[in-house]
């Protein structure tokens, strides 16, 4: 006996295409608006302003050494004529991360609150992470056409699991006495979530967001196959023409963007680092010392 799952999936896809076209259009419009909006802003930003923003952000969140790296590496990207491609990629990453968080955070919270939800969601997350991307890239293109929208959706599918998992984990790992204290002082379920659990789960949630960003960057090249654009195109062109040099330039640009995003988002779950922390610590000293003395 054989099961023909493939036929079933085919007819399901066709059924959705026939009956849910308005819904698909609405999703495409919503995601398209977000992606194109972000892309519009980023592409309109002149190189020097963009460079300055990245360098300042690096200086603020990470430190002076990393700010120098950011400046030099982005200058290199511009000289490889990949700046606008990088901004397209960045807008895709930002849009898909936003969507992933929008869906992933509530899902992670729901998993943390109910073992049943967790038991159902966990295998779905496994599926999303392990299913080869090409498998859902085709239906995404069928549902939403070519371009940035199916690219964003495919990226969301691939990159969402970490933020869900780590939100769930972060909330579950909040010290049991904090939760007890919250309950003992009369928190409602919502107050417990927002005043006790989420604030204490922030480092874990930010680690999830960081992973989501990294994964979405790794989807960029694949998404360019359905016309998502950006640096992925450069890499794809390089591969198609067997032009190793072009492909390598695109690869370098992806890596540079990855390193910058990684370091900056990693710092978000932590305290301010580097020069700013030193300055702020200095200002806070007079208040901190009496505690040590007593």
């Amino acid at each position: 006996m054989t099961f023909d799952i493939g036929d079933g999936v085919d007819s399901a896809v066709n059924y959705i295409l026939d009956n849910f076209a308005p819904l698909l259009d609405a999703i495409a419009l919503a995601i398209g608006t977000v992606t194109n909006g972000i892309q519009g802003v980023l592409l309109a930003t002149p190189f020097l302003l963009g460079l300055a923003l990245f360098v300042l952000l690096s200086l603020w969140r990470v430190g002076i050494g990393f700010a120098v790296f950011t400046g030099l590496s982005l200058w290199l990207v511009d000289h490889m004529s990949l700046w606008s491609a990088m901004m397209e990629t960045l807008s895709l990453v930002i849009a898909s991360t936003l969507v992933a968080m929008l869906i992933g955070l509530p899902l992670g919270i729901a998993m943390a609150r109910s073992n049943r939800v967790a038991a159902i969601v966990r295998p779905v997350l496994d599926l999303m992470q392990t299913m080869p991307a090409f498998v859902y890239l085709i239906p995404a293109a069928m549902f939403f056409g070519l371009g940035a929208v199916p690219g964003t959706i495919a990226t969301v599918i691939f990159s969402m699991p970490p933020v869900v998992r780590l939100t769930n984990l972060g909330i579950r790992q909040v010290h049991v006495e904090f939760v007890e204290a919250g309950n003992a002082f009369g928190c409602t379920a919502a107050q417990l979530l927002f005043k006790v659990q989420l604030p204490n789960a922030i480092p874990s949630i930010m680690a999830g967001v960081n992973q989501t960003i990294m994964l979405s960057l790794s989807m960029v090249v694949i998404a360019s196959m359905i016309g998502a654009g950006g640096i992925g195109n450069t890499v794809l062109t390089g591969i198609q023409r067997l032009d190793v040099g072009t492909g390598f330039e695109g690869g370098i640009a992806v890596v540079i963007l990855a390193v910058i995003l990684d370091r900056i988002t990693q710092s978000l779950g932590k305290e301010r680092a580097g020069i700013w922390r030193t300055l702020l610590r200095g200002a806070a000293q007079p208040q901190a010392t009496p505690a040590a003395a007593a």
Binding site: F178, F185, G186, C187
Partner: protein, 410 residues
């Protein structure tokens, strides 16, 4: 005694704040079956084997009076922390009733329970449970903020609560900048800020070192004297229970073994289990000489050009018969008495102190247990000096201080 009634009927007593009747906490899926087995006299192990349930609290019945410090005591695993959490339903009781001011907490709808936790019952935790994302003031204000008290008002009251525990200067500090004792003061301030009538304290001072623990106990007694609340205090430390408890409830294996005043517990222990608490507590074994030493004696720093007359003058002024002679670095040199000093001065000795040292006093090392030095202190005519391993003077042990220490629990 109320704890022995099986019927669940209570005579109305205005003094009773919390009335606990036939309360069980059974962890597991089949509490009814476990209860039936429990009533049939099966042991905890047998019940666990046949139902998978474990017994947290087994048929507890007792009253807690308004305004008293009620200590629940027992070894770990005796169910004392579970019992405490049943009172505000952080753990749901399986059977039985808990009445607070005549209202049954166990059957209270959730909305009412939240109101009870916000306004009437608050809690202090063993590991402080201060929220690290908030400042000290933010932690103190937590309960009020959750209860929906306006910002200006909750900050004002949180500040007043911090002031009551002596931390008003630390409002903006982060909690990880504080010492353990200070953290628990914040925990206390957070619990007091909502002005509850019942305070639940779960091993609140157990994580603190002994000196700070005593200080916090005194602080609690002071706060209690200022504003009387009903305090339910869980502890495994008999010394602490005796020190602060108006009444003590002793639990064993989830059961209440005895409820009574400290005197009743000591004089009429209900079982060997209760008695064993005292057998284990031998203060003369626990305390070291250094713990009992007091710096109440006159000390004189020995240096060039100081005559015996100055020392005599000082002893006269403080009305003491002896003085401890120390080096500049606080090392112990010897003990002189007025008579020995006058004699030595009369003999015209070159060194008025050295020749006046009393020969029958040997200093005690701080690390020696009290039991091993009992005889020496008792037979000495004078308080005996205590020194550390580097021969620095730490204080003296007098007979009366020794008796006072031994008397604390005996």
């Amino acid at each position: 005694m109320a704890c022995t009634t099986e019927s669940g009927l209570t005579e109305i007593d205005p003094q009773v704040k919390i009335s606990i009747r036939n309360v069980f906490k059974i962890f597991g899926e089949r509490p009814e079956k476990a209860l039936a087995l429990l009533k049939a006299g099966k042991t905890k192990a047998e019940i666990h084997a046949s139902t998978g349930c474990s017994i947290g609290v087994n048929n507890a019945s007792f009253d807690i009076r308004a305004g008293e410090i009620f200590v629940i005591m027992g070894l770990s695993g005796s169910g004392k922390s579970t019992m405490l959490r049943l009172l505000n339903r952080l753990i749901e009781p399986t059977f039985g009733t808990i009445e607070m001011d005549g209202r049954d907490v166990t059957r209270m709808p959730r909305r009412e329970l939240i109101a009870l936790r916000r306004h009437e019952v608050s809690m202090v935790f063993q590991s402080f449970a201060l929220l690290p994302n908030r400042t000290v003031l933010g932690n103190a204000a937590f309960g009020l903020e959750v209860a929906g008290v306006g910002e200006a008002e909750h900050l004002r009251r949180a500040h007043a609560a911090l002031k009551a525990v002596g931390l008003e200067a630390y409002g903006d500090s982060r909690t990880d900048e504080l010492s353990g004792g200070m953290k628990q003061r914040v925990g206390l301030a957070r619990a007091l800020a909502s002005e509850p009538s019942v305070l639940l304290m779960d091993e609140a001072f157990s994580a603190l070192d002994p000196l700070i623990r005593t200080e916090m106990q005194d602080e609690l007694m002071r706060l209690q004297a200022e504003h009387s609340r009903t305090i339910v205090f869980v502890s495994h430390d008999l010394d602490e229970a005796m020190r602060i408890g108006d009444r003590i409830c002793i639990m064993q294996n989830g059961q209440v073994v005895q409820v009574g005043t400290p005197d009743e517990i000591v004089l009429k222990p209900a079982s060997d289990y209760v008695r064993s608490f005292f057998r284990n507590v031998d203060v003369s074994q626990i305390f070291r000489a250094g713990d009992v030493a007091r710096k109440t004696q006159v000390t004189i720093i020995e240096r060039q050009g100081v005559s015996a007359a100055a020392a005599l003058e000082r002893m006269q002024h403080f009305d003491r018969d002896i003085a401890i002679i120390l080096g500049r670095d606080k090392t112990y040199h010897g003990v002189v008495s007025r008579t020995s000093l006058i004699e030595a001065a009369g003999n015209g000795a070159g060194d008025p102190y050295r020749s006046a040292f009393l020969t029958d006093i040997e200093p005690i090392r701080a690390s020696e247990s009290l039991s091993s030095v009992l005889g020496r202190v008792a037979s000495s005519a004078w308080p005996v000096p205590v020194v550390d391993d580097d021969n620095h003077y730490l204080g003296s042990i007098s007979k009366s201080a020794l008796l006072e220490t031994l008397d604390r629990t005996a």
